[in-house]
C-alpha cells in the first residue's frame, strides 16, 4: 500500500490554502533498467479534493508530474476544524485517500 499523503490546509482571509505531498514513483515508462528493459509507466492519473462533500479541485495528470508529487491550490469558504479529503488514483488502479483538518 502506498504511504500516506501529507496534507496541509490552512484557512486564511476567507480562503483555505491546501498543500499536498504524495508518495509516488511517477514512473514515465520512458526509462530503461540496468538490463536495458523498459520500466513500465506507473503514475497518478487522477487527483481530487473534496470539502463538505463538494469537489474543490479535480486534476488529471500525465507522466511529467515529478516523483513524489506536490500540489497547491486554494478554495473559498472552508473553516478551521473542518475536514478535507484528497484521493489519487494511478494507472495501475492503485488508490489512496487521506484526510486533513483545516487549521
Amino acid at each position: 500500500m502506498a504511504d500516506p499523503m501529507r496534507i496541509r490546509a490552512v484557512a486564511k482571509d476567507g480562503a483555505v490554502i491546501v498543500k499536498i505531498l504524495m508518495s509516488h514513483e511517477m514512473e514515465t515508462g520512458q526509462r530503461k533498467d540496468g538490463a536495458g528493459k523498459a520500466i513500465p509507466a506507473h503514475f497518478i492519473q487522477q487527483v481530487s479534493a473534496t470539502w463538505q462533500g463538494k469537489v474543490v479541485l479535480s486534476a488529471t495528470w500525465g507522466t511529467a508530474i515529478s516523483k513524489n508529487p506536490f500540489l497547491e491550490f486554494s478554495f473559498k469558504g472552508g473553516q478551521k476544524g473542518e475536514k478535507i479529503q484528497v484521493t489519487w488514483t494511478d494507472n495501475k488502479g492503485d488508490k489512496r485517500t487521506d484526510e486533513a483538518t483545516i487549521n
Partner: protein, 156 residues
C-alpha cells in the same frame, strides 16, 4: 499530521476510509467527481496534437495568465510551476511542455469557489517552452515561457 487518523488508515487501508466516507454520503462516488483522464491528450507526442486533443485547436495569447517558473531550472526532474488565471470564468488550467516525450503534463478543473491558481512540480526532459492553457467561458487562452535545464555537476 493527525496520529489517530493515520492509525485508522493503517488498520483499514486507504480505500476503506474512502468507502466509509462515500457510504455516509460525505463523498460522491468516483465517477461523479473525478475528471476523465483524456488518453488522447496525454499520449500526444507534440504540442499541436495535445492542444487539438484538448479541444484547444484555436486559442488566444493572453497576458491575463501568469506563470511562475524559473528561467533556469536547477534540476529538470523537479521544476516548480505556478499558474494563475485572471480571466473571468476560468474553468480549467493545463500545463504543457513542448519538448517532453508527451506534451501534456497536467489539467486542473477549477470548480466555482476555487481560486483559478495551481502550483505543482514537473519534469522537463530538456530545455523547453512551457505553456499554460486556460479555458475560460468556453474559450481557450495561452501563455508560454522558455525554461532552461542545466547539466548536473560531477557527471552524476
Amino acid at each position: 499530521m493527525n496520529q489517530t487518523r493515520r492509525n485508522v488508515l493503517k488498520a483499514g487501508g486507504g480505500a476503506s476510509l474512502f468507502a466509509l466516507l462515500a457510504g455516509t454520503g460525505m463523498m460522491l462516488p468516483d465517477a461523479a467527481f473525478a475528471a476523465d483522464w483524456n488518453q488522447k491528450a496525454f499520449e500526444a507526442k507534440n504540442l499541436k496534437d495535445a492542444f487539438d486533443a484538448l479541444g484547444a485547436g484555436s486559442r488566444l495569447n493572453s497576458a491575463d495568465i501568469v506563470m511562475t517558473a524559473p528561467e533556469i531550472a536547477e534540476n529538470g526532474a523537479v521544476v516548480p510551476i505556478g499558474a494563475v488565471s485572471k480571466l473571468p470564468g476560468t474553468e480549467s488550467i493545463s500545463i504543457l511542455v513542448a519538448n517532453n516525450p508527451t506534451a501534456l503534463a497536467a489539467s486542473f478543473d477549477i470548480p466555482a469557489g476555487t481560486e483559478p491558481a495551481v502550483s505543482t512540480r514537473i519534469k522537463l526532459a530538456e530545455t523547453s517552452e512551457v505553456h499554460v492553457l486556460v479555458k475560460a467561458q468556453g474559450k481557450y487562452y495561452v501563455t508560454k515561457k522558455e525554461i532552461k535545464v542545466t547539466i548536473g555537476g560531477c557527471g552524476g
